[in-house]
Symmetry: C2
Subunit: 279 residues, 2 copies
Amino acid sequence: MVKQHELSQHMISEQAASDTSCGCPHGGLKGLLDKSLARIGLSKSEQKKVDREEELVDLAVSILNEEGFAGLSLEKLTAQSRYSKGTIYNHFSSKEDCLSALCIRAVSSILTLFKRALQFEGSSREKAVAVHYSYQLYARLQPTLFMAVLSSKAPGVREKTSTERTQLMDALELEINTFSDQMFRDAIDDGSLVLSEHLSIETLSFSNWAMSFGTNALATSATEAKAVNRLDPNTLLLQNISILMDGMNWQPLSKDWDYRKTWQRVEKEIFADDIQLIE
Amino acid sequence: MVKQHELSQHMISEQAASDTSCGCPHGGLKGLLDKSLARIGLSKSEQKKVDREEELVDLAVSILNEEGFAGLSLEKLTAQSRYSKGTIYNHFSSKEDCLSALCIRAVSSILTLFKRALQFEGSSREKAVAVHYSYQLYARLQPTLFMAVLSSKAPGVREKTSTERTQLMDALELEINTFSDQMFRDAIDDGSLVLSEHLSIETLSFSNWAMSFGTNALATSATEAKAVNRLDPNTLLLQNISILMDGMNWQPLSKDWDYRKTWQRVEKEIFADDIQLIE
DNA sequence: ACCTGAACACCGTTCAAGT
DNA sequence: ACCTGAACACCGTTCAAGT
């Protein structure tokens, strides 16, 4: 169980770190990402610091996975690393800053998975289903990190995060939003979705995200007594987003198309290597 | 701002505490609630302990509201209370146990608001809209507590919570689920909702909850750069659940009925006193 | 310029002593 | 039986001294 998390953590994080040539059309994030992730055009000492930071975030993620949220402390991070407290505080201005670094790692990984999902061959609604699949996949592979992203939005955390990291986080969120909006723009362009007068792209995009987030968050934090346990966890998200997309009148409707087959195709054709880590 | 939170906290908590004669038909919760909340049939010393616990939870809530999540410590709770550390630990077996006590308070308040919302005069879909309204109201009045409920589901918190409180929490959740299911049963009974072959009451009930929770959680933790800020916060939730309920084909559909008027009626007719605390 | 670890304040938790 | 607060371990954060 823990071993699986470690595996998946490394797999996903390596993808994210090596994905600086993301090929996204927006590019607004590039500058910021280069500053903290890229491996070229840096002096020796800068390079050393970047490497060490990645090493420290890796270590922090493994502590988070093994000991849970409350178990993560800069004290432990120091003890398990090769460095001293002063050096740790040279990288993270506070415990909350360290948490934000983990969340940036998480959101980067999610964005990478989203882009992979978009490569699924199918209608625009099927592509959106694939993106939801990838979001659920991340929530299952990295439940603690998935939940951490939300808690990093709390005012107390944000206040104690360095401005550089806050900016990077905001830029990543903007890129996710832009990505999500684009899915709906594509659907409108290919004619499968028609905007009604009261509903903007932004509204649809947000409702789509809220449903996926809410479902994954509740499923992740499900306890024995919870409502989620009455339901099949493997079709939960698909059912929820299907109802929602039907409500948007996004063609083809679920009565006219078997999206369970789409879901299975996404699993096999895009995320076959990753799904093994869960079951 | 802070003052408003204090006000609302007291208002809501008093309602919850005095609502032991809730008149709900399930009743399975009664025994558990009586054990920790009721004010009759207890010896002097038991009564004293119950009173003190309420006092301590009140105090903990006010610390949470004033200093945020990270600012809540049993050290501070001790210092601000009239008791010593030993007595505090007599009530809460750990810091996490104290957090769980806060969440039980929160969920009780939410349930009370739900029951109030259900008194709205209208169709079954309108009543459901009223319940969503009350959920959003709570998220706005008590943002920190609203988010705390989720984090109390983390394994690390649950493990360190006393078994009595875990049982009480589970019982409350079950009552909320039963309440939610009942809304859908009512809709089926009055003919405004028809179950299709793939969708059970449990599925609809959960998707409804996931959307409301997801929307409120994202709105609560919205930052400047967030997608939420592009949208009107006052119609966000209504729009999201309208799309979802349309997808369920819950009559009357939003194209045939102006639910913004329903929303405003709920505000005026049910929660007029509470809404002032926000704006 | 960067790193180290001692030092201090704060917090969670326990338990012997007191009532 | 219940309450108190000293005691200890752990953690966040700083900074003078060292390289």
